[in-house]
């Protein structure tokens, strides 16, 4: 399939051609040479692009040898779309575009990674290691919300995963909004389509609740994005090729359980240890009264440098919030989703602990609720597993 020039390239090419003709007539050798060089550059890019497209393996239904231009199939998940882009763009261009949007883990998927060379894979792995932390597989103890008030807990098994070091911030979320995330139905759960009209900002544009005119408040680029419901968090996670962590994954990241005797585990009450300590988390006691930047409170990191698992903003997880019934041992589902971690206005320190679970309605868009993303190791190509484990520790 012949790859066409972009509009900018066409403009430059046309301008260079005209300039070359004029310079030739006027015997202006300097201008002649410059215009010719420009033209050669444009032609060279065109040839290279078409050479890459011809060398790319078939990615299924997305590329066709039978027509000159294949329209982008409409119903694509992000990684499928990226596979299509991998077939149609040059690798450096693809990497550049994807890394700009913080969607680097998409490039490490098995559908995409075949388009990249070793150097490019190493570059992407470096970025992933910078942005994410590895949580090893293992057991985690979770408290059960019991209406009878008894202190019960259960053990769950967690597979190896990568978790964002920081909560998603406004600048990152703005990329999603600018890319048309709110209009892309493939990113959204079908049962929320009717409610999406309410996912607007203060000026009625699609976006988080406390934004205005499609952008975040001034000076808040590196603050956690808030005013987003559970569905919005999920849509963003899909867009970047990740997902929301489960409650067990979140607690494992924060509490970092280690094996004790038998099947038991010992895990931390707070990401830094077993006692609350002022200055390690942005909760009510700190007196700040609003969100801090996502990289603040470094002293509150977990053992592997994941920040603000306690305080600043509550974080959506993928779990339902349930309560064990009192008369009969059954779970009662309420249409609430689980929140973890506490926020800047959390009054009781214990509610910012690793194990405390709050919740809210799926459509709730509060000023103290944000999220971070995760990705299972099994969702990434096996070719990079060893590299990631070596870089991030197991």
């Amino acid at each position: 399939m012949f790859r066409k020039l972009t509009k900018l390239e066409l403009l430059i090419g046309l301008g260079s051609t005209i300039l070359l003709v004029v310079a030739t007539i006027q015997h202006n050798m300097l201008t002649c040479g410059s215009s010719a060089a420009c033209l050669c550059l444009i032609v060279g890019r065109l040839l290279e692009r078409n050479r890459s497209a011809a060398a790319t393996p078939d990615v299924g239904d997305f590329a066709s040898d039978e027509s000159e231009s294949t329209p982008l199939p409409r119903k694509l998940e992000p990684r499928q779309r990226l596979a299509y882009e991998a077939a149609t763009q040059s690798a450096p261009e693809l990497i550049r575009n994807v890394l700009q949007n913080g969607r680097e883990t998409l490039l490490l998927r098995s559908e995409i990674i075949g388009n990249l060379n070793e150097a490019q894979v190493n570059e992407i792995v470096d970025v992933v290691c910078e942005d994410m932390s590895l949580v090893p597989a293992g057991k985690v103890a979770l408290s059960i919300n019991d209406l009878a008030g008894s202190e019960k807990s259960k053990m769950e098994e967690v597979a190896t995963l990568l978790v964002d070091r920081y909560a998603v911030n406004n600048a990152e979320y703005a990329e999603f909004v600018a890319a048309g995330g709110y209009a892309d139905q493939e990113l959204w759960d079908a049962d929320v389509f009717d409610a999406m009209a309410a996912f607007v900002d203060q000026s009625e544009q699609p976006g988080p609740r406390y934004w205005r005119d499609g952008t975040f408040p001034r000076g808040k680029a590196d603050h956690p994005v808030v005013g987003i419901c559970w569905y919005e968090a999920r849509a963003y996670a899909r867009w970047v090729g990740k997902r929301l962590p489960t409650g067990a994954e979140w607690v494992k990241t924060a509490g970092w359980p280690v094996a004790a005797s038998g099947d038991a585990v010992r895990q931390r009450t707070y990401p830094w240890g077993n006692s609350y300590e002022p200055g390690r988390a942005n909760i009510s006691q700190e007196g700040i009264g609003h969100t801090a930047t996502v990289d603040d409170f470094a002293d509150g990191d977990n053992v592997r440098g994941v920040r603000q698992l306690a305080g600043n903003v509550w974080e959506w997880t993928d779990d339902e919030l349930t309560f064990a019934g009192s008369a009969v041992d059954s779970s009662v589902q309420l249409g609430l989703k689980s929140l973890r971690g506490g926020a800047f206005n959390t009054y009781l320190e214990g509610q910012a602990s690793c194990d405390f679970e709050s919740g809210d309605h799926v459509l709730s868009r509060r000023d103290n609720v944000g999220f971070r993303c995760a990705v299972s190791m099994t969702d990434l190509s096996e070719a990079v597993h060893e590299q990631l484990v070596a870089a991030l520790g197991a």
């Binding site: 919300n145 019934g325 929140l339």
Partner: protein, 315 residues
């Protein structure tokens, strides 16, 4: 050998009863609470200047409202916030009874529950006691806040069967009128009418008290009796951002009858939005019915009505 003073005059003190400042019943000198209405005798002692020898009129700020409007939770939360501030605040909590209120509320919230409804027995009511330091005066302003049952208040409004309530409301120097914002948002008009009933009841008590005073010779007519300053507290406002943005407009728009009554009856009033729980879940129970649970504690706007009322008291 030196002579020891014979302080027989002190024996006399023990034989003099102290009348309760709220219900006027006589009590023993050493009584902690009134044997008739259960109010702390500290109020009477401070009023009479007998405890600290300071003539500082104690302020009685009375939280009132229908049952389950959040009075106890508000009180416990306010006391906890003040006690955490300690010397950094001009208001300090005082006495074991205040700690009891704090403990009951914060303990329950910490366990993921709301506290049990306030008992209907006035003798089991908790009385919070605070002190307000004033830069312009050498002594503290003593403030008492009873945690009363809303059921008792409404019952007394109907049939005057709870004298304790009448004594407390007649002596109130400030009123906190609680309204459940959630129910108002759900369109429950009863919330407005219950609040209106309480307001009108307070008005009638104030007039009764004024009428019962002995007539004095004056050149000018005595001033009309006035309902004390009223802080209208839209409680449980965590789901109502409009209420937090403009509580006065919210009250005027959602409860026009109450609003009009406030203009008529309480010239000094202000509206506030308050929440203690950041979110609440209504959980159906296996045995039937449901229960409301606080999902997290995120107090907002708690001290503002308290400070406003104290500001009105200081003048």
């Amino acid at each position: 050998m030196g002579l020891q003073p014979l302080e027989t005059y002190k024996v006399g003190n023990y034989r003099l009863p102290i009348p309760c400042d709220l219900c006027r019943e006589n009590n023993l000198y050493e009584a902690i609470t009134c044997s008739n209405c259960g109010a702390p005798m500290d109020i009477s002692r401070i009023e009479g200047g007998k405890k600290d020898n300071r003539r500082t009129r104690p302020q009685l700020i009375v939280p009132v409202g229908a049952s389950n409007t959040g009075k106890s939770v508000y009180l416990g939360m306010a006391l906890d916030i003040l006690s955490r501030q300690g010397d950094r605040s001009d208001i300090t909590t005082y006495g074991a009874a205040s700690v009891t209120v704090q403990q009951q509320v914060i303990g329950a919230l910490g366990r993921g529950h709301f506290p049990e409804p306030t008992d209907r027995n006035p003798f089991l009511w908790s009385w919070a006691h605070c002190k307000l330091s004033r830069h312009t005066a050498p002594d503290h302003l003593q403030v008492f806040l009873p945690d009363m049952s809303g059921w008792n208040v409404l019952r007394d409004a109907d049939d005057e069967s709870c004298p304790s309530i009448r004594g407390i409301l007649q002596k109130a120097t400030g009123i906190m009128l609680f309204i459940d914002t959630g129910r108002v948002q759900d369109g429950d008009k009863d919330e407005e009418f219950l609040a209106l009933k309480i307001l009108r009841y307070i008005e009638s008590l104030v007039e009764q008290r004024a009428d019962s005073r002995p007539a004095r010779r004056r050149r000018t007519a005595p001033p009309d009796p006035q309902v004390p300053p009223v802080a209208v507290i839209m409680a449980k406002a965590d789901e109502c951002s409009e209420c937090f943005d403009a509580p006065t407009d919210y009250v005027r728009g959602q409860m026009p009858n109450l609003w009009q009554a406030l203009q008529d009856v309480a010239p000094l009033h202000a509206c506030f939005a308050v929440s203690v729980a950041g979110a609440v879940a209504e959980v159906p129970l296996c045995k039937g019915g449901s229960t409301k649970l606080p999902l997290r504690v995120e107090p907002r706007g708690v001290l503002e009505p308290f400070r406003w009322l104290l500001g009105q008291a200081i003048g």
